[in-house]
């Protein structure tokens, strides 16, 4: 990723909680409704998009999150090269989906900041600022939710037991991170 400016500069760690930004990672939003769209995405990415609400699917390289009945976020599990500004996956999807008018592919790499949280206090932290009920979410690896934390829209993905990916809009990321630090220091 060319000229990528990190918004969250430091890695923070508390008892039972570590937080850091992962970057730069390719992120795409893909939208479409038709059946041909789903099969075209499946063929291009070599993975199935999750059709069940609040779930995700994962392949070796990519993860797809369910956002809405016709909207998904696809992000790479691997950190991108710093001197390149295009992604194989995006080019492929553009060719197989956008060009054929099956759906839309939008690069949101710079729009979203991916924060990785680890530790057994993650949900205590979330519960301090979110109206979402995490009881079911925390026990089901792969679940996804879009909700609000201290009035900031976030996408949360349960990556593993005690490991969570959080996506937040770039302009809100510094605020959210400072809130999380403040809140974590008092857990």
């Amino acid at each position: 990723m060319l000229n990528y400016n990190q918004t969250i500069k430091d890695q923070k760690s508390y008892q039972g909680l570590q937080m850091s930004e992962k970057n730069p990672v390719m992120k795409l939003i893909i939208r479409g409704k038709k059946r041909e769209f789903l099969s075209a995405v499946g063929k291009s990415l070599n993975m199935v998009l999750p059709t069940k609400a609040n779930t995700s699917t994962q392949s070796e390289k990519l993860t797809a999150l369910w956002l809405s009945p016709d909207e998904w976020m696809v992000f790479s599990n691997i950190v991108a090269k710093e001197n390149i500004n295009s992604y194989e996956t995006e080019t492929l999807l553009n060719k197989n989906i956008s060009k054929l008018n099956l759906g839309a592919v939008v690069d949101v790499t710079d729009q979203y900041v991916q924060i990785i949280l680890k530790g057994d206090k993650i949900y205590d932290l979330f519960e301090a600022g979110s109206p979402f009920n995490f009881n079911e979410f925390r026990n089901k690896i792969g679940s996804v939710t879009q909700t609000i934390i201290t009035k900031v829209d976030v996408i949360i993905h349960n990556q593993n037991q005690n490991e969570v990916n959080l996506f937040v809009r770039r302009s809100f990321s510094e605020y959210l991170f400072s809130w999380m630090n403040d809140s974590a220091s008092r857990l």
Partner: protein, 91 residues
């Protein structure tokens, strides 16, 4: 504060949603033939009743989809939730 059962995402808190006003208001077929009063009636006039009301809601901080709910405005009890384009349940 109350919970809304989004037809797409499941049960969520009300602060994730935006209210979209009264549902099932039909747009006039020939707006050009209406008088100003009739047009204003369609645009602005809403019932604002105390009791069971049909409303549109948007899951703004979630899936961003619109849907309808039947809500009692006096105690915020939700009687039914149904998707856009579906027939409203009969009371």
């Amino acid at each position: 504060m109350f919970l809304i059962n989004c037809p797409f995402c499941g049960e969520r808190e009300q602060s994730e949603f935006k209210a979209g006003g009264e549902a099932h208001i039909e747009r006039p077929k020939q707006p050009t033939e209406l008088s100003d009063d009739e047009w204003a009636e369609f645009l602005f006039m809403r019932k604002n009743i105390k009791g069971v009301q049909f409303e549109r809601w948007n899951h703004a901080h979630g899936c961003r989809k619109w849907f309808n709910i039947v809500r009692d405005t006096s105690d915020d009890q939700i009687k039914a939730v149904y998707k856009m384009g579906e027939k409203p349940p009969v009371k």
